[in-house]
């Protein structure tokens, strides 16, 4: 009951939006399509739904090739970024829409439709809204209705296009948790598109990272965070310090053009350890140039002539408060868990 995408290609004129995309979604999985704006993730989702045509490759839903089917025939549920509710219909009519437009043979009785809509309204915790119009609801409420509407037709697959990006930060957080719970309850195969790596890391069973119409990496949140396959994935998934590594082993941030460099070194700010004295051979000396308190951690900028640049560090707040560091202090920096990539590109 899953999804299989095989060698999917999509062009807009000369522009190649999807370049031979292949991946699988297991039944019941919650997969995130993650990538920067314009990378093709929304195009991919819309092509799966059928509202864009593909120019090559296969889309198998429940084992069935669907590239030739109309969107109305694919039995998918789709939730839009800006809700796309029918503003001339009540909430009830919106949710019932998919059930009301079925051909007479397949249509449920009026009573059955009413039951299912009521059920869904309970599911999304909006029983009270049945007779309201979309214009009377808040953004978060509208999105829940949009979800209920998509689920009404019992789709085999649920597709969400940046479902929360049009909402306030607080509402976004709430709905994220809510979606996670909903997915656990319903266990429906789901793909959602986002450009927010936090959202992907928090919600998804599996993340597909897309860039320039190609897949950069597929993996669990842990996998893509701990073992990024490329510099792009590394920097996209979290914050990063980037250094060049010379042949003599030393690290430098701003390299001269003429210098021969062996590879690039990537380090997460929270893998940076600072101490008063030089603890290890490779420790780098520097001066704290900036301290900013950020809720659960403290953000530091350390100026180091040895690496000819700035090192960013994120220190656990409690640890930092014990240490008593201040701007201007001379400290030593240990760089742990360094990932190396070839001077220009991918993981070695």
């Amino acid at each position: 009951m899953g999804i299989q995408i095989k060698n999917l290609v999509k062009k807009f004129g000369d522009f190649l939006a999807l370049d031979n995309i292949s991946f699988d979604v297991k039944p019941g999985e919650l997969v995130a399509l993650l990538g920067p704006s314009g990378c093709g993730k929304t195009t991919l989702l819309r092509t799966i739904a059928g509202i864009e045509d593909s120019d090559g490759g296969e889309i198998l839903l429940k084992g069935r090739e669907t590239s030739d089917l109309n969107p109305s025939e694919r039995n998918v549920g789709f939730v839009f970024q800006h809700f796309a509710l029918f503003k001339n219909m009540t909430v009830f009519e919106n949710i019932a829409f998919g059930l009301n437009v079925k051909p007479k043979k397949e249509r449920l009785s009026k009573k059955e439709i009413e039951e299912r809509v009521t059920e869904l309204l309970s599911l999304v915790q909006m029983d009270w809204a049945a007779k309201r119009y979309p214009s009377q609801l808040s953004g978060g409420q509208r999105q829940r209705i949009a979800l209920a509407r998509a689920l009404a037709i019992r789709p085999s697959v649920l597709l969400l296009d940046e479902p929360f990006s049009a909402l306030d930060a607080k509402v976004r957080q709430e709905l994220r948790k809510w979606l996670r719970k909903l997915h656990e309850d319903l266990n429906i195969t789901t793909i959602f598109v986002t450009h927010d790596q936090e959202e992907a890391l928090e919600l998804a069973d599996k993340i597909v990272i897309v860039n320039h119409g190609k897949i950069e990496q597929i993996g669990t949140p842990e996998e893509v965070y701990e073992n990024p396959a490329s510099p792009f994935v590394y920097s996209f998934i979290g914050n990063v310090n980037v250094f060049h590594k010379r042949y003599d082993g030393s690290l430098i941030q701003a390299a001269e053009d003429s210098e021969e460099l062996k590879e690039k070194a990537y380090i997460r700010p929270h893998d940076v350890v600072i101490s008063v004295a030089k603890e290890r051979k490779d420790d780098v000396k520097g001066v704290i140039s900036h301290i900013r308190s950020m809720r659960s951690y403290v953000y530091l900028e350390i100026n180091s002539s040895e690496v000819n640049g700035l090192i960013e560090a994120e220190i656990d707040r409690n640890k930092f408060n014990e240490s008593n560091f201040q701007v201007g202090d001379e400290i030593y920096v240990s760089l742990e868990n360094v990932k190396f990539f070839g001077a220009d590109s991918y993981s070695i």
């Binding site: 509202i51 109309n70 789709f78 839009f80 800006h82 796309a84 029918f86 503003k87 437009v101 949009a146």
Partner: protein, 278 residues
């Protein structure tokens, strides 16, 4: 005057100047003539007024004006919507040209339209030649009047419906399609309800315009009393006989209907805003 502004806000000058200029302009050019007509209409007393506007020939003209205007407006509502839909949703050769030509009835003097349509549909005319053998008589008949009124009215509907269709949220249509609706269902349940107010607005504008239309109609209608004499023409006839009171009386009745239609129009806008406030 003070009920029009509670307090002068901000530092922008010129309120008194512009407000006075506009209001005096309107008083002299708009209000005064209107009062003049009403005064003349009732100049000989109310019973005389009543007698004139209820006389047979006048009532016949109301009926003719009303029916032809109504029918033309209905045809315009239907075809106007079709044209707006086609221009917005489909790509085809000459589309931009047709789009520009929609405004021709607005730009062309009514007299030119009048003589052109009259000649076109006369028994020897290009179209008249074809339809006369079929016993369809477009000249000196109410059909001819209606055709002329269709000509001058269709831009109203097209130009009102077009923007609504152009701005229509594609994602809402996509949502409906994904939920299983076929194209007819998408139109009927999702698109059409949203364009009804604009169709009604265009219809009302076309109707109001058609009621008072003169230049494009007089050549094709033949102006036969009790058959093809529209009310504006009857007013003209009274004027030619220097019966100012009579003309004014009939005009007042027509004015009343015109104002009523503005009122209905505003009502439609009001309801539209209420229901679809985002």
């Amino acid at each position: 005057m003070s009920k029009f502004f509670s307090k002068k806000t901000g530092i922008i000058p010129g309120f008194n100047l512009t407000f006075s200029y506009t209001t005096i302009y309107l008083l002299i050019l708009l209000i005064l003539p209107l009062i003049g007509i009403l005064y003349t209409a009732f100049g000989n007393g109310f019973s005389s007024f009543k007698e004139i506007i209820t006389s047979d020939r006048v009532i016949a003209s109301y009926k003719i004006s009303f029916m032809t205007a109504l029918f033309a407006a209905i045809v315009n509502a239907v075809f106007g919507t079709i044209i707006a839909w086609t221009l917005v949703r489909y790509k085809f050769p000459f589309r931009k040209l047709l789009d520009a030509l929609v405004d021709l009835p607005f730009a062309l003097p009514t007299a030119v339209a009048g003589i052109s349509l009259a000649t076109l549909f006369s028994p020897e005319g290009w179209i008249g030649k074809i339809i006369t053998p079929l016993h369809i008589n477009a000249v000196n008949s109410q059909l001819g009047i209606t055709i002329a009124l269709i000509f001058i009215g269709f831009p109203f509907v097209v130009r009102n419906v077009q923007p609504v269709l152009e701005e229509f949220d594609k994602e809402v249509e996509e949502a409906a399609a994904i939920l299983g609706a076929n194209r007819f269902q998408v139109f009927k349940k999702v698109i059409f309800p949203n364009i009804v107010p604009s169709i009604l607005t265009g219809f009302t504008l076309a109707f109001a315009r058609a009621l008072g239309e003169y230049g494009s109609v007089i050549f094709i209608s033949g102006n036969i009393p009790f058959e093809t004499e529209i009310t504006p023409l009857l007013i003209m006839a009274q004027l030619d006989q220097f019966d100012y009171a009579g003309a004014a009386a009939i005009a007042s009745a027509l004015l009343g209907i015109a104002l009523l239609s503005i009122f209905i129009l505003n009502l439609i806008q009001y309801y539209n805003n209420k229901k679809f406030v985002r």
